[in-house]
Subunit: 227 residues, 2 copies
DNA sequence: GGCAGCTAACATGCTAGCATGTCGCGCACT
DNA sequence: AGTGCGCGACATGCTAGCATGTTAGCTGCC
């Protein structure tokens, strides 16, 4: 059993903490795709019983992060370009609908929040704080989604994106990408400020397709990674 | 405990059958919104233990069909116009993205399937078979979603729509609505045949907003239904 | 030497009972 | 009479052990 971070640092019921621990390990590939994931071992490692583990695995199965084969075993899902494409499609659908709505309905206060986030992103780029920038990036997108007024939308978008996020670990960092990302965010904000839904959709679509394009190139170059 | 249909007729594990039984009862309002849903009673009624019931309730909670309050109780979700709007937004986002994609990529074989479905719908309208028509309606939409090639899309769309579907039980049948629905389907298919993504989006949007519009009128007339 | 069948180990799914925290009712007090 | 407090009943969450079905390896046979 690979090293599994302890439950500390996660909140809520045991099942929820087990879920968080396992999900993180799957997403950062410390649990290898295709590996068997024995419930008994997880129980022993984390020091909990099998019910919370079962519930956590059920949730992960509903996100297609693990495959549960009845009476046979539970396996970490393999990287799948199919899943990546589907996840990207879903997030794109949600986020395009969101920017379209927000372009027509954003309040001044909301625009101010977005501008502030952009200023923060600029500072992080100047400081070359890549980790911080990606956090601000995620927050920027979540803001837009939450401005629709739909509470569960940000979470759904995150869930849709998990397979893309996992596959992204295989990409090497590309110098200058953060700067381009910042520029794309500027274009989205500009379209929102102009209250132009079509431009907002276009800018968002362009932005979201960057990662997937790079992944498509990767799968072409090294198809064995997506067995 | 209201009458709960037996597990027979559902396939898969016990948990899955319990899930199906409960979901059906919640959706057709035979489990009253706001009612308490005791695990123990469900176990006794269905003759199963608490693990499968717990798993089923966890899934229902993730769809916001029940509220689980730790150490307090489980409650059938109340009807909520918020949830209806969010569900409608989600399905619209997914289905607009789907028709846009399909308009550009549909094969002739797929168009033939859709035309065949429309012919079936016409026959059902002529025979005034409303139930059959709604089944064909659902199938028509599922076809379009599946033509994107994304396997889980139809299921996600169904899940998104559950709150709308539940609230729809409150609407009285409206004479002539099936005819209008058929006409709207014709418009969607026409746009797909013309390979016109913009028109397809427009026709789909118009179509999907019909139910929500009627629900908005209902909540205005009888707000107490959505406590 | 290769293949088929069997057996044994072991995976998950389910059942039953214990620990923990909450809510509501009743009683005493103000 | 109204209010605050305390206790009891009971809800879910968790733990531990049993039933069921699969898989892999070994053995015997061809």
């Amino acid at each position: 059993m690979p090293i599994l971070r302890s439950l500390d640092g996660y909140a809520g019921s045991l099942a929820q903490r087990v879920y968080g621990t396992l999900k993180e390990a799957i997403l950062d590939l410390s649990l290898k795709p295709g590996a068997i994931l024995r419930k008994g071992e997880v129980c022993a490692t984390l020091g909990v019983s099998r019910s919370p583990v079962s519930e956590a695995l059920a949730r992960l199965a509903s996100e297609a992060l693990v495959d549960v084969v009845p009476q046979a075993g539970t396996f970490v899902a393999r990287l799948s370009m199919e899943e990546v494409r589907e996840g990207a499609f879903l997030r794109e659908a949600l986020e395009l609908a969101a920017v379209e709505l927000v372009a027509g309905a954003a309040t001044e206060a909301q625009l101010i929040q977005l501008r502030r986030s952009l200023r923060l992103q600029e500072a992080l780029v100047e400081d070359a704080d890549v980790g911080g920038f990606y956090a601000a990036d995620a927050q920027f997108h979540e803001m837009i989604l939450s401005f629709t007024g739909h509470r569960r939308l940000p979470g759904l978008s995150r869930t849709a994106w998990v397979h893309v996020d996992r596959a992204r670990r295989l990409l090497l960092p590309e110098p200058g990408r953060v700067g381009e990302t910042l520029e794309e965010h500027r274009a989205i904000l500009a379209a929102l400020e102009a209250r132009d839904p079509v431009a907002a959709r276009g800018a968002t679509r362009t932005h979201l397709r960057q990662v997937v394009t790079r992944l498509e190139r990767l799968v072409e170059a090294r198809p064995e990674l997506f067995a």
